[in-house]
Amino acid sequence: MKNFPKIVTSAFLTLLLVSCSDDFLDRVPTDSLNESNFWHNEGELKQYANNFYSTFTGHATATSLSPIVTGDNQSDNLAPVDFNLVAAGKNIVPTSGGGWIWTTIRACNYFLARYQQAPISQEVKDKYAGEVRFFKALDYFDKVKNFGDVPWLSKDLTTNSPELYAARDSRILVMDSLLATINTAIANLPDKAAAETGRINKDVALTLKARICLFEGTFRKYRGIDGGEKFLREAVSASDQLISEAHYQVHNTGNPAADYAALFNSLDLSTNKEMILYKSYETGLLGTGTSRNIQLNEFNTSASKALIESYLCADGKPISQSPLYLGDDSIQVEMKNRDPRLAQTIVVPGTGIQAGFKLPAIPGSGFAGVGVVPTGYQLTKYWVADQTEFVRIQNGILDAPTYRYGEVLLVNAEANAELGLATQEVIDKTINVLRKRAGMPAMVISALVKDQRSEFPELPVLLDEIRRERRVELAAEGLRFDDLVRWKAGKLLNKPVTGMKFVQKQYPKAVPGSSIFLNDKGYIMPYGKSLPGGRTFDESKNYFLPLPLDELSLNTNLKQNPGW
C-alpha cells in the first residue's frame, strides 16, 4: 500500500477538476435584452419607440450643418458657397447608400410584427404602434420623394426573404399603403391632451398627413397621374380637422416686427401655440450651435435674389407692381418697404441685430472670422439676439420647430385652391391669418393681379400668390425643393443664381472678376467661377435620385431611375 497516498491525491485532483456540472458551458447573456425576455411591458414598447425620435434632427449639433436651415440649399431659395449638387443637376450615381437605407423601415416593421405579444392593454399597445407607424410613414415619404417607386415592406425581412430581390412597387401602391399607415397611426395615437408632452400625438400625425397628401396630390396633378384629387382632398380634410379642432393658433402678439421671428429665435417654444411639434434643447441635455452659426454665417450659405424678390412690398403688391419698391441699386435700398417677414429672414445691413455689424461678408470682402455670404443676403432667421446663447457655442438651447400650424394653413389654402375650392373664406382663415401676423394687408381674391414677373406665368393668379405666400412664410425651413418637385417646376433651378447688386464703395477690397464675380448688370454671381455654365437641372432625370450601383447589381430586378 505504499502507493496509497499517491493514488488518493491523484484521485482527489481528478475529482476536483472533473466534478463540474454539465451545464458548465451553458452561458446566457445577463446584461442584454433578447427575444426571450422582451415584449413584456409598456416600458419596453416605449423605449423602443423612443429610439425613433432621433429622426427629428432639428438644429445643428457640434459637427453638422443644421438640417432645417440648410435644407433649402437644395433649392432656389438659398445659395451655399459650394453649389448644391442636386439643385445643379450634378449629383452622380453613388456606389452605395445615397438615401437607399432601410434600417428605419426594418426597425418599424420589426416592432409592428411583434408588439401585439405584449400582455398589456390594447390601448397602450396601440399608442406606441401609432408612434412607430408615424415614423414608418415619415421614412417612406422620404423614400418616395427621393426615388418614386420603392418596394413596400410590411414585415421585417430575413436573409432568405424573396422581397430582397423583388422589383420596386409602384408609386400608386406605395402611396396608398402609406396613406393607410398614417391613417392607422392617426386612429391609434392619443389626442394632444392625453399625450405625454413632447411625444407624437394625433395632431402631429395629421400634420404629416396633410404635408404628404398635398405633396402627392400636386405631384400627380402636374404629371397627369391618377389619384391626385383624392390626395388633395385628404390634405384638405386633415388640415381642416386641425383648423377646426383649434388646438393651435398662429403666434401673434400684435408685434409684426418680431412675432414671425419669434418662431425661430426663441430659446423656449413650450408656450408657443403655433408649435405642433418642436425639438427642445436644454442646458446639460442637448445643445445646438445654430444661432451662433447663423450669426457667424458658418453654414456658408445665403439667400438668392430670387427669394428676395418674391417678397411683396408693404402694400401687399409684388415689386413689379408696387410703387413702394425702390429698386435694388444697393441691398439697403432693396430691403426698404417690404413684407416685414423679409427683415426677419434676411439681414438688412445697418439694422443688424448685433451691434457693430454693418455688412455681410461677401466673397473678397476681406471680412475674416466669419463664413462667406455668397450672395450678400445673409440669413437672420434663427438668429438669437442674445450674447449668452452666442457664447454657448455648440451648447446653445435654441428650440427648433418641427411642425408648425402656419404650414397647416398653407396646406389647406393650396390644396383647396388646387381643387378649385379656395373661396375668400378659405383664404381668410388661412393665408390672411398669416398675413395679419406679418403685418401685411389681407389677400383679397377679387383684387389679385397677376404678377408680370411671376415664376409661374401660366398659373392662375390665386394659386400663384398662394405659392408665393408659402415660399415667403416657409423660407429656409427646408421645404422648397419638395415644392418645386411636386409643382414640376425644376426648371426654375436653372435660372441663373444671383445675389445682390455689388457696390464697390461698400466693399473696397473686393475685386470683381477675381475675388468676386458679377454679371453684366452688376449683380453678384456666386457661382460665376465654379459653375460658369449655370445649373443644369434635368427635369427628365433630376427629380429623382439615382439608385446606388451596388444595389442594382445585388438585385437585378431593381431598375435604375430614368435618365441615370
Binding site: 442584454s32 421585417d156 455689424f357 457664447v391
Partner: protein, 1172 residues
C-alpha cells in the same frame, strides 16, 4: 511545395557528397576495432538522446573509458543505468536539476551504493576530500616549482564542480571538486595560462602571473541553455522538436528601455509580428504569428507559466524564456485558442541548493519623439488657407491686412498687438504660437528598478522579485505618466520523494495618468495639432491691456492641457496559482494546477469647466462644459484548471515513447459598471457626490467558459525518426449546445538526418540536420462577442431628443443571426528544416500554409432593403502562405572575443480562397481570389497643366468635382478606354479605371541581431525593419487643407503643390477640400518600408578581481539606445512604423490617419546591474 522539393534535392546531394568520406571512415573503424566493449562517450550520448536529458562531464573523465554493453539496458531507468556503469569508470552522478546530470569522480571513501543519493548531497553536506585534486596523469610529473589554487563559480556565485582546468598548451590538468576548488602543486614557470571549460558554460582562459589564489567565474553559455525548448504542458530537447517553434532567452529582453515587454520582442523572433499602435507609454503592442489570421479576428494565445494573461504586464527582468509555437501541430494541445499560434512565457524560478542571491537592476531613460510633423508655420498657414480657398471658390479667407498683422507681430511681438478688433466686433488673434514647442518637452524621463532574491535548499527553492517602472509622456506640462509595480513570489518544494508542490503569486499594478481630452476639442491632442485656429493664431493667455486683463486663458489648447482635467486609469492584476506534481509510478507523472487571475480596473475621468476667451471678450465655457466626473470599474475573475499525466518509457533501447493526456477548463466572469455625472460643485474635488447634474450609468456582466481534453503521443526511434500526435477535443460556451464541441487533431514528423550513420563522417561540418513536417487542424472560437448565436436588442443610453425633461433611453431592434454558427477551422501545413554547420552556424527554415476555413464573416451581401447588417456565417476561407528563416553565426574568436550575428526574415501573404457572399466581386468587399491588403486605386497620368487639358481629357466628373476639373487637378488614366474616368461597377470584372496599385501587407519583415563580448565589455545591436510596405497617405496631417479646408497640414505637400508658378509640383493644386485629387492612386502611393536601429547597447562588467574587493558577484553598467536611427523613403516626416492602417474593407482595422498618433520615441538609457 517547391520548397519541400528543394529541401529533398538538397538533402539528396548532401548524401552523395558524403558518400566518399563515409567509406574511408568505415574502413578506419574496422582497422582499429577493439573488444566488444563500447565507448563510454557513445553510451552517454545514447542516454542523452533517449532519456531526453543532459549529461554533463569533463572529457578527461570518460576518454578511453569503455563499458560492457551488457550493463546497458535502455528499457530501464537512466539512474539505474548510470549506477551500473559509472562505478567502473570511477565516476558518480549528481542530478543538478531536473533532466541534467553531472558526472564527477567517485569519492574514494564512497562506494557505489551512495551514488543514488548523490542527487540530495549538496555542497555543504559533502565531506571535504582533496584526494582527487590531481589526476594520476598529473602526479607523474613531480617537479614542484610553484602552486596555485582557487575556486570556480558560476555567475550566481554557486561553486561549479567538475570544471576542467587545463594548463594551456599541455595535457596537464585537473577538475574542480564539489565545492568548485582546484589546486596545482607543480606549475612550471612557462605554464602561465589556465584554460577553464565546462559544458554549458563559456570557455575562459586566465593568465596566472604570480598569483597563488585564483577565483574564476564561468558564464553560462546562452546557446547551450536554449537547447531545452518549452512546449505545451512540458519541455523538449531542441533536437527532438518536430513542430515550428522559436525560443529566446529572457536575457535578450532585459536592459531594453521599453515600458512593455512586447516592444522588446520586435525583430527577435521570425514571424512573430509585433505592432506598436503608437508611442503612448501605456500603449500595448499587439502580437501576430505568421500573418493574417481570420477575417473575423483571432490572435495569438499568450500564456505566462501556463496561464493566459497580457504579457505586457510583466517585468522583463522576471522572464526566463519566451517560446513561440507557430504551427498547428505545436499549438494543437491548446486546441480552440491556439489556432493562430501560442506564445509561452516562462518566468524565473528559484534555484535549489543555493545561498540567497540578491540582484538589483536599475536604469534611467530619456525619451524624445522620433518624428514630429513639419507643420506649417503661422504665416505659411495663413497663406496656405488663402490659396486653398482661392483655388476652391475664388475667395480669400484672410485679408491681406490680417496677414500683415501676423507678420508684424512676428517681426516685433512687443510693439505689435497680438489681436485686432474686426468691424463685426470680433477679435482677430494674430499671435504666433509654436504649437509643438508649447506642447512638448524636449526629453521625457523614465526610470526602472528591479530587485530580486533567488535561492533555495535541497528541497525548496524560491524566487522573489519586485519591480518599479515610471515613464513620463511627452507633454510639456501636465504630462501623462505611466507607472507599473510588479511583485512575484515563486516557491517550489518537494514535499515527499514523489510529490512536488509549487505556489506562485504575481501581482501587477499599473497606473496611467493622462490629461483628459475635451471631447469638444477633437479626438486627440495629436489630432488637435492639425487644426488651424484657435491653435495657430491664439496666444496662450490674453495679453496685458486686453479688456479682460492679462493672463486669462484663451482657446489655445495648451490651456486645456493644463486645466487639471485628468483621466486616471489604474489596474491591478493578481495571479495566484498552485501546482502539484506527483510521480505515481516509474515514468508516470501526474500534474495539476489551478490558477485564479483577478483583474480590477478603475478609471476616473474628470472634466473641469473653465472659462476662456475665444473671439469676443465675453469668457466662454461651452467648450469645457459640462464639467463631469466619470468612474468606471471593471472586475474580471478568470479561473484555469489543468490536470494532466505524462508517461515516458524507452523500449529495447531504441523506441522512446512518451504520452500525455490532460484535461483543461477555464472560465471568466466579468462585470463592469460606469457612472458619469455632470456639473462638478468644485473643480478641486471631482467626486460623484459633489456633482449636481445628469447621471448616466452603464452596467455590464458577461462570462465565457471553455473545457477540453487533450493528448499527445511522441515516438522516437533511435533519436532519428520522430513522430508526434496531438489532439484536443474542445467545447466553448460561445456556441449553442449541440454545436459547441470540436475535435482538432495534428501530427508532426521529424527526421534527424545528421544522426544517420552515413552522416557520421560529416559530424564536424554538419553536426545537426533535421527535416520536419507537420499538419494540424485547430478551431477558432474568438468571435466578436461572447454570444454570437443570440440576437440581442441594442440600447441607446441617450436618444438625442428631450422627452419628459430628459434624454430618454432607447432600445433598438436586434440584428439577424445565422442559425448554424459554429467553429472556424484553422489548418496549417508546415515544412521545416534545422541545421547546424561547424557547430557555429545554426539555420532554421519553415514554409507554411495556413488555411482558415468556415470563417465567420458577414454573410451574403444582401440588398439594403434588409435593413440590418447581414448576419455572420461560417462562409469564407483564407489561405495564408509564408515562410520564416533564421540564421545565427556564433563564435568564440580567440581568448577574449565572443560574438554572434543573427538574421531573421519572414514573409506572408493571405489570399481569400472562398467568399461566396460577394458573387459579383465588388471590390469594396472581400471577394474570392483577393490578396488581402490590396489597394485599389487609379493610375495617375499627371497633373493638368491648364484648364484646356482637363476639357480635352477623358471626363472625370464621376469622381466628383463636377465640371470643375482644371489646371493643377490630377489627371487619372483611362484604363478601360471609354473616355470617362469611372469606378465602373466597382467589381473585379468591371472596375472602371481602377486597378490594384499596391498592397498594405507588410512584406519581408526582418531583424538583424549582433552580440559581441570582449573582455569585460558587451555590445548588442538590433536592426529591425520591413522590406516592402505600400501606404496610401490620407488625412489632414499629410494633405492639409486639401483634405480638410481648415487644417494646418505639413510643409511636405504645401511647398510642393502644383501652382501656376510651380508647374512641376509633385502634389496637386492646393485647393480646399479637393479630396477627388487625392484618391488612392499610383502617384501618391508611398512606401513605408524601413530599417530601424531598434536597439544598441554597450555594457561593461567589472572584472573578477574588482568584484572580489567589492564583495559582489556581478556588476554591469550599460548604456542603451532605442530607435536611434532609421532609413525610410516615407515622405512628410512621419514615423514609418506607425502610419495608421487603411483598410477600406474592415473599419475595425482602420486606425486613423498618418501622423495622428502619439509619436514613437527615441530613447537613451543608462543602467546598472548588481548581484550581491
Amino acid at each position: 511545395m517547391s520548397v519541400f522539393t528543394w529541401l529533398f534535392c538538397a538533402s539528396l546531394s548532401w548524401g552523395i557528397a558524403c558518400a566518399q568520406p563515409l567509406a574511408l571512415k568505415l574502413s578506419h573503424q574496422q582497422g582499429s576495432q577493439q573488444s566488444a566493449r563500447t565507448k563510454l562517450a557513445d553510451v552517454l550520448q545514447r542516454f542523452k538522446d533517449h532519456y531526453k536529458v543532459d549529461i554533463l562531464y569533463a572529457d578527461q573523465f570518460i576518454s578511453n573509458q569503455y563499458v560492457a554493453p551488457s550493463l546497458i539496458r535502455m528499457d530501464d531507468k537512466l539512474e539505474a543505468n548510470l549506477e551500473r556503469i559509472l562505478p567502473g569508470a570511477g565516476l558518480r552522478y549528481m542530478e543538478q536539476k531536473a533532466g541534467t546530470f553531472l558526472l564527477i569522480p567517485a569519492r574514494a571513501t564512497s562506494g557505489p551504493k551512495s551514488v543514488p543519493e548523490a542527487g540530495r548531497s549538496s555542497a555543504q553536506e559533502a565531506p571535504k576530500d582533496d584526494s582527487f585534486n590531481a589526476t594520476p596523469a598529473i602526479q607523474q610529473e613531480k617537479r614542484q616549482l610553484r602552486s596555485i589554487s582557487g575556486v570556480v563559480t558560476d555567475g550566481r556565485q554557486e561553486p561549479l564542480p567538475g570544471v576542467s582546468v587545463v594548463i594551456k598548451g599541455t595535457q596537464k590538468g585537473t577538475i574542480t571538486d564539489v565545492e568548485g576548488r582546484f589546486t596545482f602543486q607543480d606549475l612550471q614557470d612557462n605554464e602561465d595560462v589556465l584554460v577553464f571549460s565546462y559544458v554549458g558554460y563559456q570557455r575562459q582562459e586566465v593568465p596566472i602571473g604570480t598569483e597563488t589564489k585564483l577565483n574564476v567565474v564561468l558564464r553560462a553559455d546562452d546557446k547551450e541553455l536554449e537547447e531545452v525548448v518549452v512546449v505545451g504542458y512540458g519541455t523538449k530537447s531542441r533536437e527532438t522538436v518536430t513542430g515550428a517553434i522559436s525560443q529566446i532567452s529572457g536575457s535578450a529582453l532585459t536592459s531594453r528601455p521599453v515600458t512593455k515587454v512586447g516592444q522588446a520582442l520586435q525583430g527577435l523572433i521570425p514571424n512573430l509580428n509585433v505592432t506598436n499602435p503608437d508611442g503612448n507609454p501605456n500603449a500595448n503592442p499587439s502580437f501576430n504569428i505568421r500573418g493574417n489570421t481570420s477575417l473575423s479576428g483571432g490572435s495569438a494565445l499568450v500564456l505566462v507559466d501556463g496561464i493566459q494573461m497580457d504579457m505586457n504586464l510583466l517585468n522583463p527582468a522576471d522572464i526566463e524564456s519566451i517560446t513561440v509555437l507557430k504551427d498547428a501541430a505545436s499549438a494543437a494541445i491548446y486546441g480552440a485558442r491556439g489556432a493562430f499560434g501560442v506564445i509561452l512565457v516562462t518566468t524565473k524560478k528559484g534555484t535549489k541548493d543555493r545561498k540567497p542571491q540578491i540582484s538589483y537592476a536599475g536604469s534611467m531613460q530619456f525619451n524624445k519623439p522620433t518624428y514630429l510633423p513639419d507643420l506649417l508655420s503661422t504665416t505659411e498657414y495663413l497663406e496656405s488657407q488663402n490659396i486653398a480657398q482661392l483655388n476652391s471658390n475664388g475667395t480669400q479667407k484672410y485679408s491681406d491686412e490680417q496677414v500683415q498683422w501676423v507678420r508684424d507681430y512676428i517681426a516685433d511681438p512687443v510693439k505689435n498687438p497680438s489681436y485686432h478688433m474686426l468691424p463685426n466686433g470680433k477679435i482677430f488673434w494674430n499671435a504666433n504660437p509654436n504649437v509643438l514647442k508649447n506642447m512638448l518637452q524636449p526629453w521625457a524621463p523614465g526610470q526602472n528598478h528591479t530587485v530580486n532574491v533567488n535561492g533555495g535548499n535541497s528541497k525548496t527553492s524560491y524566487y522573489f522579485s519586485g519591480g518599479f517602472l515610471r515613464q513620463e509622456g511627452l507633454f510639456k506640462t501636465s504630462t501623462d505618466i505611466f507607472k507599473r509595480y510588479n511583485f512575484t513570489t515563486n516557491v517550489n518544494t518537494e514535499l515527499t520523494e514523489w510529490l512536488k508542490l509549487g505556489a506562485k503569486v504575481n501581482y501587477i499594478s499599473t497606473g496611467y495618468d493622462e490629461p483628459h481630452k475635451y471631447p469638444n476639442k477633437g479626438t486627440d491632442w495629436w489630432e488637435q495639432m492639425t487644426r488651424g485656429e484657435p491653435q495657430i493664431l491664439f496666444p496662450i493667455k490674453t495679453p496685458a491691456g486686453s479688456p479682460v486683463g492679462e493672463g486669462v486663458a484663451t482657446e489655445n489648447f495648451v490651456n486645456f492641457l493644463e486645466s487639471g482635467s485628468r483621466k486616471i486609469s489604474n489596474s491591478s492584476t493578481g495571479i495566484y496559482s498552485i501546482d502539484a506534481q506527483a510521480k505515481v509510478a516509474s515514468g508516470l507523472k501526474v500534474s495539476g494546477n489551478f490558477s485564479y487571475t483577478s483583474t480590477r480596473q478603475n478609471l476616473k475621468e474628470t472634466q473641469v469647466a473653465f472659462p476662456y476667451i475665444r473671439d469676443t471678450w465675453i469668457p466662454q465655457i461651452s467648450g469645457t462644459s459640462p464639467s463631469f466626473v466619470q468612474r468606471d470599474f471593471t472586475a474580471s475573475d478568470y479561473f484555469a484548471a489543468n490536470l494532466y499525466a505524462d508517461y515516458s518509457r524507452v523500449f529495447s533501447g531504441k523506441h522512446a515513447i512518451s504520452a500525455l493526456v490532460g484535461y483543461n477548463q477555464e472560465w471568466l466572469n466579468l462585470t463592469a459598471s460606469s457612472v458619469k455625472r455632470q456639473d462638478l460643485v468644485s473643480g478641486q474635488v471631482p467626486v460623484l457626490n459633489l456633482t449636481t447634474g445628469t447621471i448616466t450609468a452603464t452596467d455590464q456582466q458577461t462570462s465565457w467558459a471553455i473545457r477540453g481534453i487533450f493528448g499527445r503521443l511522441n515516438y522516437d526511434y533511435m533519436g532519428k525518426y520522430l513522430v508526434e500526435f496531438n489532439s484536443r477535443y474542445d467545447g466553448t460556451s460561445r456556441f449553442p449546445s449541440g454545436r459547441r464541441f470540436g475535435y482538432f487533431p495534428s501530427v508532426s514528423v521529424g527526421w534527424r538526418i545528421s544522426q544517420e550513420n552515413f552522416m557520421k563522417p560529416l559530424a564536424r561540418v554538419l553536426p545537426e540536420l533535421k527535416l520536419r513536417a507537420s499538419y494540424g487542424s485547430l478551431g477558432n472560437q474568438l468571435t466578436s462577442n461572447n454570444f454570437p448565436y443570440i440576437s440581442l436588442f441594442g440600447v441607446t443610453a441617450q436618444v438625442p431628443y428631450i422627452l419628459g425633461g430628459a434624454l430618454p433611453a432607447g432600445i433598438t431592434s436586434p440584428g439577424l443571426v445565422s442559425p448554424d454558427l459554429t467553429w472556424e477551422k484553422v489548418s496549417t501545413i508546415d515544412f521545416g528544416a534545422d541545421a547546424n554547420l561547424w557547430g557555429k552556424l545554426s539555420l532554421g527554415f519553415d514554409w507554411y500554409r495556413r488555411v482558415t476555413s468556415g470563417m465567420l464573416v458577414d454573410g451574403d451581401r444582401l440588398p439594403a432593403v434588409l435593413g440590418t447588417p447581414v448576419p455572420q456565417r461560417n462562409a469564407a476561407e483564407l489561405r495564408t502562405t509564408g515562410f520564416e528563416f533564421s540564421a545565427k553565426w556564433s563564435e568564440q574568436a580567440g581568448e577574449h572575443l565572443r560574438y554572434d550575428v543573427g538574421l531573421m526574415l519572414s514573409n506572408y501573404q493571405a489570399v481569400i480562397a472562398k467568399f461566396d457572399n460577394n458573387p459579383n466581386k465588388l471590390i469594396t468587399n472581400y471577394y474570392k481570389g483577393q490578396n488581402i491588403g490590396e489597394i485599389w486605386g487609379f493610375e495617375t497620368v499627371g497633373i493638368f497643366q491648364n484648364s484646356g487639358d482637363a476639357t480635352s481629357a477623358p471626363d472625370q466628373n464621376q469622381l466628383g468635382n463636377s465640371g470643375k476639373w482644371g489646371a493643377g487637378d490630377i489627371q487619372y488614366k483611362d484604363l478601360d478606354g471609354d473616355s470617362r474616368i469611372t469606378r465602373g461597377n466597382n467589381t473585379v470584372a468591371n472596375p472602371g479605371d481602377q486597378r490594384v496599385i499596391g498592397n498594405i501587407t507588410p512584406k519581408y519583415q526582418f531583424g538583424v541581431t549582433g552580440n559581441l563580448a570582449w573582455r569585460e565589455f558587451d555590445f548588442n545591436v538590433l536592426f529591425q525593419g520591413i522590406g516592402k510596405h505600400d501606404f496610401v497617405p490620407r488625412g489632414s496631417y499629410f494633405w492639409g487643407a486639401i483634405n480638410n479646408s481648415g487644417a494646418v497640414g505639413t510643409g511636405e505637400v504645401y511647398h510642393d503643390a502644383w501652382s501656376a508658378e510651380h508647374k512641376d509640383g509633385y502634389y496637386p493644386i492646393y485647393k480646399a477640400n479637393s479630396s477627388y485629387n487625392i484618391l488612392p492612386q499610383t502617384r501618391y502611393l508611398q512606401s513605408s518600408a524601413y530599417v530601424r536601429l531598434k536597439n544598441i547597447s554597450l555594457g561593461y562588467s567589472l572584472p573578477a578581481k574588482a568584484l572580489e574587493k567589492l564583495r559582489l558577484v556581478q556588476v554591469r553598467i550599460y548604456a542603451t539606445g532605442q530607435n536611434l536611427w532609421e532609413f525610410t523613403r516615407l515622405k512628410g516626416n512621419f514615423d514609418p512604423e506607425v502610419t495608421g492602417v487603411t483598410d477600406s474593407k474592415d473599419a475595425s482595422k482602420d486606425s486613423g490617419d498618418v501622423g495622428m498618433f502619439y509619436p514613437l520615441q527615441r530613447v537613451v538609457s543608462f543602467g546598472i546591474q548588481l548581484t550581491l
